[in-house]
């Protein structure tokens, strides 16, 4: 009996939950019913300004300031290294991959890029001009320090 009751309670909760979800959560479909296709939003453009972006914290992999359409990165070839490798920077005038990209997991420096860092897009990404879906509340360390300084003494 007890089990039956809790089952009913769970069901009621589930139904209520989904009803509430329907009214409060904006989905990608918008208000479009399930049996029709919704109008897809226009594709956002990749930012190709060639201007380096701010790094929000020192360990952050820098954002890619140029487009990378069709740049092949696989077992056969790595297009990024054709400009960012040690040997290529004289011609490309691009920033060289830093020394951390040559270090294996024991902090030994290898002759060329370490396998851990071969797939550049694991860490480095391009940005698009899309409107953010949610506000980003990130503050960087300088702002945190300012905040602490301004509020010193007011709390402990």
């Amino acid at each position: 009996m007890k089990r039956k009751l809790s089952l009913v309670a769970a069901l009621v909760l589930a139904v209520a939950g989904s009803a509430m979800a329907q009214t409060s959560i904006a989905t990608l479909r918008g208000g479009t019913p399930l049996n029709t296709e919704s109008e897809p939003p226009a594709m956002a453009k990749e930012i190709n300004s060639d201007l380096r972006q701010v790094r929000n914290y020192p360990e952050q992999p820098p954002l890619i300031p140029h487009k990378i359409d069709g740049y092949q990165i696989d077992l056969n070839a790595n297009k990024c290294l054709s400009c960012h490798s040690r040997a290529a920077v004289e011609i490309s005038q691009a920033p060289m991959i830093s020394i951390t990209h040559f270090m294996n997991r024991d902090n030994q420096f290898l002759a060329s890029v370490t396998p851990r860092r071969y797939f550049c897009n694991q860490c480095h990404v391009v940005q698009t001009d899309a409107r953010p879906l949610v506000e980003n509340g990130f503050v960087d360390i300088d702002q945190v320090l300012d905040y602490v300084k301004n509020n010193q003494g007011s709390s402990d």
Binding site: L75, S82, A88, I91, S92, Q93
Partner: protein, 210 residues
């Protein structure tokens, strides 16, 4: 045999009894046009993408990959087809290229790239032929559509403008040095991967030999 040739020569030398000289000259002229035209048409037919992709070797590998690139679909709606990049438009080059193409028919018979595995094994060699060819003719096929004179670098990204100004306009590099792998996937480049951005065919080869 010698006797036959002698008789043939005699026939050719003997003035015509039945036809006037004018008629014969005209006839020769017309036949010439017919043969030349036929030759031309045959070349035109083999100069289409439909022809190139009639072989599965070309269709399943390189053509499939071309479809995802900017030379297949783009905002301008201008397409580059296989012969645009691979067969010179110039008449004399065209014949020379066709002579080389008979090697391809040979390849078909002996199936040098008849499976995906065989193709991948041979791919680097084939690509190197193309790089060497484009380097030797200063990327002629690219320039048939893209001319550096009409290139307005103020409308390009800073990165593109810098490369073109520093290395293309000065004649130091040609299109294919920097734009390898724009139409198809690259073969296994090994260490030469580090140079595909601007390595010449020779530089790439020397890296590959290491």
């Amino acid at each position: 045999m010698l006797g036959f040739l002698k008789r043939l020569w005699a026939t050719i030398r003997r003035p015509s009894v039945h036809y006037s000289l004018g008629f014969l000259t005209m006839g020769g002229f017309v036949m010439g046009i017919v043969f030349w035209g036929g030759f031309n048409t045959a070349l035109e037919l083999t100069n289409t993408e439909t022809f190139c992709t009639s072989c599965h070797e070309m269709r399943d590998n390189v053509y499939a990959e071309l479809k995802t690139t900017i030379h297949y679909t783009n905002r301008s709606g201008v397409r580059a087809t296989c012969p645009d990049c691979h067969v010179p438009h110039d008449w004399t080059n065209k014949i020379a290229r066709k002579m080389q193409a008979s090697k391809e028919v040979w390849g078909k018979i002996f199936g040098t790239i008849s499976t995906r595995e065989k193709f991948l094994d041979k791919r680097l060699e084939l690509a190197q032929h193309e790089w060497a060819r484009l380097e030797a003719n200063d990327s002629l096929e690219c320039r048939n559509c893209h001319s550096d004179e009409s290139m307005d670098i103020t409308r390009q990204s800073a990165r593109a403008a810098d490369f073109h100004q520093r290395l293309l306009f000065t004649g130091e590099k040609t299109c294919i040095d920097c734009h390898k792998g724009i139409a198809h996937q690259l073969p296994d480049m090994g260490q030469a991967s580090l140079l595909i951005g601007a390595g010449s065919a020779q530089e790439v080869s020397s890296y590959l030999d290491r």
